[in-house]
């Protein structure tokens, strides 16, 4: 009676020859070659014009601080646009978030439709929205506020419905069992559980919108971006540097306030 020794486990040939890794590398290489052909990317062109680029950087490293008083007012306007736009967007997002939450709405079709609509809104970049709303509403901060409202609506509604889906269902069942209406349930059982996180996400969106609103003016939608476009158009790069640095300060201050408030809230 011969007991054959059990065969050593063999790696399948796909693992032995690293088929997946080689395949991915080849795919990446092909995509890289194709996309550099398509974009005409050529490191030599960059190097041969590097002196122009460096001259620009040198100009930028000497900010014209006298420009600061010109841009203070548009800087305020930028923050104001961000505050209003975020608020409008967040308020609009609440009913959509409630309808898109799977633990509140049983109807899969309605939920799917709402989520698809929100996905569609989120595909559009902020500057693209700005270009369209400037065409509709004319040049000025109105177009900026509406752009930011739509942009934050798409973002906030997703964050909100994901929060709603994590709530404790106990209070909802308690209210439902004593015969409360939908509105009462939402008001007394859903909102108290999510309010803090809503405010936290609202502040987070505000941070993003302050950053976004600084460039919207480039297309005529108000705020500091108007001056950004003007200084770049006039090749006044030392003014551009002041604008960028001032924006950095504003963004850091708003981030700091918002981070502090969010830590207090959660």
């Amino acid at each position: 009676m011969t007991e054959s020794t059990p065969a050593l486990p063999q790696r399948p040939w796909r693992q032995r020859y690293h088929v997946a890794a080689i395949g991915w590398t080849l795919l990446l290489a092909v995509l890289l070659v194709l996309s550099s052909l398509m974009t005409g990317a050529n490191f030599g062109t960059f190097l041969s014009n590097i002196d122009q680029f460096l001259a620009l950087l040198v100009q930028m490293s000497h900010p014209a601080w006298s420009y600061l008083h010109v841009i203070l007012q548009p800087l305020y306007e930028t923050i104001q646009m961000a505050v209003l736009g975020t608020t409008i967007g967040a308020v609009l997002a609440v009913p959509f978030a409630l309808l898109a939450a799977s633990n509140l709405v049983g109807n899969r079709l309605l939920r799917g439709l709402i989520r698809f609509f929100l996905d569609l809104v989120r595909t559009l970049p902020d500057l693209l929205l700005a270009a369209i709303f400037v065409a509709i509403f004319g040049i000025g901060s109105t177009a900026g506020v509406i752009t930011l409202a739509i942009f934050s609506f798409g973002m906030v509604s997703k964050l909100f419905y994901e929060v709603i889906e994590t709530i404790d269902m106990g209070p909802l069942e308690a209210l439902k069992s004593v015969g409360a209406t939908k509105v009462t349930i939402i008001w007394y059982a859903v909102l108290p559980q999510i309010l803090n996180q809503f405010v936290s996400y609202f502040l987070y969106t505000l941070e993003i919108n302050v950053r976004a609103s600084t460039v919207l003016g480039y297309l005529g939608a108000g705020g500091i971006g108007v001056y950004l476009q003007r200084s770049l158009g006039e090749f006044n790069y030392s003014a551009t540097a002041v604008i960028i640095l001032a924006t950095l300060v504003v963004v850091l201050v708003i981030d700091g306030i918002s981070n502090h408030l969010r830590r207090v809230l959660l």
Partner: protein, 270 residues
């Protein structure tokens, strides 16, 4: 000693009861400042008719523009946009790795010079708006998609470097310790432990950043840096709304497709 209401400091209670009022005042102040400061230009008279034409254009897109073989049609420009985003993200992912090691804080000293300076540099890079970078690179390499690639790759370093450095800070150090205890030197620790541990997370963040890059590549053309943005801004300026409609549809389809593809890949990774 029994704690009673009498020996409890009363102002504290008062503050607890009424501090919400302070918040109401602050919030009301912020909003009245925001609304009062903006002078709404009023909606121009043509707003209604323009939005009607945009809607009409969206409903009757210019299908002939999808492909006409000229190389300036929707499908080739969408491909060009994807190429800008892909190349830009790839280059920036490579450059971000050293930045991440620079900015990652790997010990608990309160003032960490290396990590602190790296974080400041990454923040500075992030604040440069992408379109400003695009305009700067247009100065250097001329208008076209190459400037877009450079803008995307430099701007993405700010965010990818931050995400990468955070994942380095939070990574599992077990494998590193194992190699060290077996007598491995620094380069062996890096190539056999650190990089393999962190690789899936790096790839996942790079894919996420690619989704964002696709969106920004589609608007960089508005300042002349290649891709689908250039014909879009022309179409808006010349009010050819059926052209705007088809370009918007193209961008929406492209972004939805890339998002779902990247999401599927990221789920497989982690």
């Amino acid at each position: 000693m029994q704690t009673t209401l009498e020996n409890h400091p009363l102002p504290h209670l008062f503050w607890r009861r009424w501090h919400w009022l302070l918040w109401v005042v602050v919030v009301a102040g912020v909003y009245s400042w925001a609304i009062g400061g903006l002078h709404f230009t009023g909606i121009q008279e043509s707003a209604g008719s323009v939005s009607r034409s945009i809607l009409k254009g969206l409903l009757h897109p210019d299908w002939a523009y999808v492909y006409n073989g000229s190389g300036e049609d929707l499908s080739s420009l969408i491909l060009q946009t994807l190429a800008i985003a892909f190349l830009g993200t790839f280059v920036s992912a490579l450059i971000s790795v050293p930045f991440a090691f620079w900015a990652a804080r790997t010990d608990q000293h309160w003032a960490h010079l290396r990590s602190g300076s790296g974080k400041v540099v990454l923040t500075l890079i992030r604040t440069f708006p992408e379109i400003v970078l695009a305009i700067m690179f247009i100065k250097a390499v001329g208008p076209g998609s190459y400037a877009g690639v450079l803008a995307v790759s430099i701007h993405s370093i700010g965010m990818l470097g931050k995400l990468f450095s955070e994942s380095l800070e939070n990574m599992d150090r077990g494998a590193e310790e194992a190699i060290r205890s077996a007598g491995g030197n620094r380069s062996e620790i890096l190539t056999l432990a650190t990089l393999p541990t962190i690789f899936p997370e790096f790839i996942s963040y790079t894919l996420y950043r690619f989704e964002i890059a696709v969106r920004s590549a589609s608007i960089l053309g508005m300042v002349g840096a290649g891709g689908i943005g250039t014909p879009l801004i022309f179409a808006i300026q010349t009010r050819s709304w059926s052209r705007v409609g088809i370009i918007l549809l193209g961008i929406i389809v492209m972004v939805l497709a890339i998002d779902s593809l990247s999401e599927r890949l990221r789920k497989k990774l982690i």
